[in-house]
């Protein structure tokens, strides 16, 4: 029951983060929303794993956390490179 409530809460926060990704005026709002969705999805997998008694989902969730972190760093690094030598129309 507790895990079900947690999973539903994760879904709700994912939806809220997605609202920010859809509305976000600047690129950085969207990057933060992307990172947020990644984190919430990771936690959702953990909650779902405990919910259906598949605790090996924890490993999957760990890998997701790593991928999410690397992805966000890559995107931000890309924007730093873009800000240092702007080329033509920048965001």
């Amino acid at each position: 029951m507790m895990f079900a409530a947690a999973a539903i809460a994760m879904l709700a926060t994912t939806a809220l983060a997605m609202v920010r990704a859809l509305a976000g005026p600047t690129v950085f709002d969207r990057i933060a929303a992307l990172n947020m969705v990644g984190t919430k999805v990771t936690l959702l997998i953990v909650a779902a794993g405990f919910l259906i008694d598949r605790t090996d989902y924890l490993d999957i969730a760990l890998t997701y956390a790593l991928i999410n972190f690397i992805g966000t760093v890559a995107v931000l690094r890309f924007y730093r490179v873009e800000a240092e030598n702007p080329r033509g129309d920048s965001a």
Binding site: I8, M18, R30, Y64, N68, V75, F78
Partner: protein
């Protein structure tokens, strides 16, 4: 509970897909595509396809986001308004979707143990993986051990392709940088 998760995830994916079609800001579209991939990967985990989910998360949400941003850096960040109406393409897409849905009706039920795919080699793998290899996840055992050479070959191909693309792109940057800057 699984049903609630399925419905919620698919609804979010639908919203993201419609937003991707409507938006003209391509950086936002790239971020939304990444979110779509994450949701799809979660869907795969809940359908118990961990290896597909890993691929989706790593490629869809990780690499392709960065590649898309790099491509946008060369082409521009906004999409031009369409010149023609989208009526015929929408009609074709809907027709294709209906045909695919009709085809899905012939598929065996999800998780049906008497489906043809579960009767051919699957029982042998399920029976022998434990004693032969000792990896609890049979799909991982098939990918990494029974078809180990196949996976090694795929990895080699992808690595070579990445190496080639990197070499091509680095050559381009050097040529571009010489006339522009002195440093």
């Amino acid at each position: 509970m699984n049903l609630v998760l399925d419905i919620a995830l698919l609804a979010l994916m639908g919203i993201v897909a419609i937003a991707i079609i409507r938006l003209r800001d391509l950086v936002a579209v790239t971020m939304l595509a990444s979110i779509y991939s994450l949701l799809a990967a979660t869907m795969f985990v809940i359908l118990d396809a961990a290896d597909v989910a890993f691929t989706e998360a790593a490629v869809g949400a990780g690499i392709s986001t960065v590649l898309m941003l790099a491509a946008l850096n060369l082409t521009g960040f906004t999409e031009k308004a369409p010149l023609r109406s989208a009526f015929v393409p929408v009609l074709i897409v809907i027709a294709t979707g209906l045909v695919l849905g009709y085809g899905m009706m012939d598929l065996p039920r999800y998780g049906d143990p008497s489906a043809p795919i579960h009767l051919h080699v699957a029982p042998k793998y399920l029976q022998d993986t434990g004693p032969e290899i000792g990896i609890p996840n049979v799909v991982t055992a098939v990918l990494a051990s029974y078809r180990g050479y196949d996976t090694l070959g795929e990895t080699t191909v992808i690595f070579t392709a990445g190496l080639g693309v990197t070499l091509l792109l680095s050559g381009r940057r050097r040529r571009r940088a010489t006339p522009e800057s002195s440093s």
